[in-house]
């Protein structure tokens, strides 16, 4: 029993469980399929946000190019779906039937060679993860080996995002250009646009997201997580202790790229198209704000942050389109200035201490009745409260230390 409780505490399973309940039970019961599909779309961004918690919150390296990996995963999946949607019968109006419509518009007369493997689903599924990971490895290996980090890493990833956007838009015969890949209909003959399919895809998305969170949590609580935090705070000391700092960072960065790729693939499946507007600088930075609002140290918080910001975006752009940008701006500034730990930080700083206090007060009441037991309990609860209740608005270092101790 205590072993189980330890396990739950160690992996913060309680919060993951609450999230699972919310996503898998509460939302499907309360929302209609249209809104649920929207939530499913937001959840695909949450993969990126969860990845950012790992690489930014824990790794201390901010990447402003996560949209690249999201886009690559999404494009890989979209290529498969597009090929399936472009069978010779539905495209018989084209001059070259059987190739995707945008190729025909760009005077291509045969399927380019690199498109061929995407006729196979297993290859596509591997590519969804492998392509972003490979690119992430190339970028991060070059940078981290030369100890490039901090703000400089951020702007280089941004440059990569920009360049990839230009590439995709420029090579419209191969990628669909600005239009992206539209009109994705079926996967192995299964119509992904029906309500039933949307429910299934939604649950697949939730399951994979929860799985990713658990995986990340597992890494965080292991030795790698401890080292990541240590590297973030005192990189040189870790290096002097004999660890290869770069390799750990490269690993984390590749992991987040893979997660983002999965998110992108699920996006293509659920929304039915992919466009270069997910690859550029703006979406990449927006994804950072999802993680920041939720709390850059909290995996679960990142999901809540993503849902909240996107729901806000949809709501405000429906009701007050002019206010939306101001609100978004306020979010950016507010989160960085006042709540650097986001929603999770608020929870940690205000709700948890308050609860701990309540509990210890209740225990004190009991203590009046049984003095000996009370002393034991109070001494047990006090250090915990002290560890969790410190300071005003948690600076990264402080909260990181707490997390480090816990691990």
């Amino acid at each position: 029993m205590t072993a189980l409780r330890d396990l739950i505490k160690r992996y913060q399973l309680a919060s993951v469980l609450v999230l699972t309940l919310l996503l898998a039970v509460v939302l499907p019961l309360t929302l209609d399929i249209f809104r649920l599909n929207l939530v499913g779309k937001y959840l695909t961004y949450a993969f990126v946000a969860v990845g950012l918690v790992m690489v930014w919150g824990y790794g201390g390296v901010l990447s402003l190019g996560q949209g690249v990996f999201f886009g690559l995963g999404g494009y890989a999946m979209a290529m498969f779906l597009k090929l399936e949607a472009s069978d010779p019968i539905t495209t018989k109006i084209q001059s070259t039937p059987g190739i995707p419509d945008f190729m025909d518009w760009n005077q291509l007369t045969a399927l380019p060679l690199f498109w061929e493997p995407f006729k196979s689903l297993p290859f596509t599924l591997i590519a969804v993860i492998a392509v972003p990971t490979l690119l992430a490895w190339i970028i991060s290996y070059a940078m981290f080996k030369r100890r490039v980090g901090g703000v400089y890493f951020a702007i280089i990833t941004q440059a990569v995002a920009l360049i990839l956007t230009v590439l995709i838009i420029g090579q419209q015969g191969y990628t669909g250009g600005v239009n992206g890949m539209t009109d994705l209909k079926t996967m192995l003959g299964w119509d992904t646009r029906t309500n039933g399919a949307k429910y299934i895809l939604y649950y697949v998305c939730v399951a994979l997201l929860i799985g990713s969170i658990l995986l990340c949590r597992w890494i965080q609580t292991g030795k790698a997580g401890t080292l990541l935090l240590a590297m973030r705070d005192k990189e040189d000391r870790v290096r002097f202790s004999g660890y290869d700092v770069a390799n750990f960072r490269v690993f984390t960065f590749c992991l987040t790229a893979a997660l983002s790729g999965i998110g992108g693939a699920l996006f293509s499946l659920q929304v039915g198209f992919m466009s270069p507007s997910f690859v550029g600088i703006v979406p990449s930075i927006e994804m950072v704000i999802f993680a920041a609002v939720g709390g850059r140290m909290s995996l679960v918080g990142a999901v809540y942050g993503t849902l909240l910001v996107n729901a806000g975006k949809t709501f405000f752009s429906e009701s007050f389109p002019d206010l939306w940008l101001f609100l978004m701006a306020a979010l950016f500034i507010g989160v960085t200035m006042a709540f650097p730990m986001g929603l999770a930080g608020l929870w940690q700083d205000h709700v948890v201490p308050w609860w701990a206090k309540r509990r210890s007060e209740m225990r004190k009441d009991k203590a009046a009745a049984a003095r000996r037991a009370a002393e034991d309990d109070a001494s047990g609860a006090a250090p915990e409260a002290a560890a969790k209740a410190p300071r005003a608005a948690g600076t990264p270092e402080r909260l990181g230390d707490v997390a480090g101790q816990r691990a």
Partner: protein
């Protein structure tokens, strides 16, 4: 098509590369100063350029309406005004936001991005969603044709001259003025600079404001080439970032060299191949070089 025609085209092509160089340099300069000195990446850089551009636009509108006789001379005055407005904006933002975030450079990135969003919406609400371009004085329009067949764009010459003035001004100020002395002291050792009585906070604020002011001038110069809309800033910032990243963000010389390299590559490539291909070739070259030298062409010797 005889030899003198080809010579003319060659000359004009050389000038096209030079004027692109001037534009890129002017765009990247403000960003590089702020990053080199303070380690802060100003994501609202493009919007400060838009402030400059809008200043010119408003200036041209007001002059046209109230003092049409001043049309030939309003432009230089408006450029100075553009610097002042952007300078004031930068000062305000440093005071209200940036100074609280020096310990967290990554967060300045997010905060300034937020500012850029707010500024975009301000432009849209108060000036309008349409792209505008100012009425330029006649001496900025058309071309200067010393011989027939040779057309040197006047706006290009103007931007080139302006860039030369601003760049030399900045380099001189950094090496000769008291501000430059303080800046250099702060960059090499902040704590020590503080100890010798330099007010590093004030230095930072001044530097940030000057960087923004230069962005304003860049935006002003840009009105002679393109148009300005609420989201133009996002377009500007992309090029600015490439120049600064490629040059090695901490070095002004790097910015100059990288602007020159990118401009010449792109301009030449554009002459010999289609525009889209040229852009791609330039970008691919930048990526390959960045992969080999991720710290940029001219990295500072100080290890961070």
């Amino acid at each position: 098509m005889n030899f003198s025609d080809l010579l003319n085209i060659g000359l004009m092509q050389g000038f096209a590369g030079l004027s692109l160089f001037a534009v890129l340099l002017l765009m990247g300069l403000g960003l590089a100063i702020i990053f080199g000195q303070m380690g802060v990446i100003n994501m609202a850089h493009g919007e400060f350029m838009a402030i400059g551009a809008y200043t010119i636009y408003l200036g041209s509108q007001l002059t046209e309406q109230y003092a049409p006789s001043l049309m030939p001379v309003y432009f230089p005055l408006a450029v100075i005004l553009a610097f002042c407005f952007a300078f004031a904006g930068g000062w305000l933002i440093e005071w209200s936001l940036i100074r609280h975030l020096y310990k967290r450079p990554l967060d300045t990135l997010l905060a300034t991005w937020g500012i850029s969003l707010a500024m975009q919406q301000c432009f849209r609400t108060f000036i309008g969603p349409k792209e505008v371009s100012p009425t330029l004085p006649d001496w900025l329009l058309g071309s200067w044709a010393p011989v027939s067949g040779l057309d040197i764009p006047r706006n290009g010459m103007f931007v080139l001259a302006l860039t030369a003035v601003v760049t030399c001004g900045v380099l001189l100020a950094l090496s000769k003025s008291r501000w430059g002395l303080r800046v250099r002291a702060t960059v090499s050792n902040r704590v020590m600079a503080n100890a010798t009585g330099i007010d590093t906070r004030k230095t930072d604020r001044l530097t940030f404001a000057i960087g923004c002011g230069i962005a304003g001038v860049a935006g002003a110069a840009f009105t002679t080439i393109g148009s300005t809309g609420p989201t133009s800033g996002q377009l500007y910032i992309v090029d600015s970032f490439l120049v600064v990243t490629f040059g090695g963000a901490a070095s002004l010389l790097g910015t100059v060299v990288s602007a020159f390299g990118i401009a010449q590559t792109q301009s030449l490539a554009e002459f010999f191949m289609p525009g889209s291909m040229a852009k791609m070739l330039t970008l691919t070259l930048i990526v390959v070089i960045l992969m080999m030298r991720p710290q940029g062409l001219f990295a500072s010797k100080v290890r961070r």
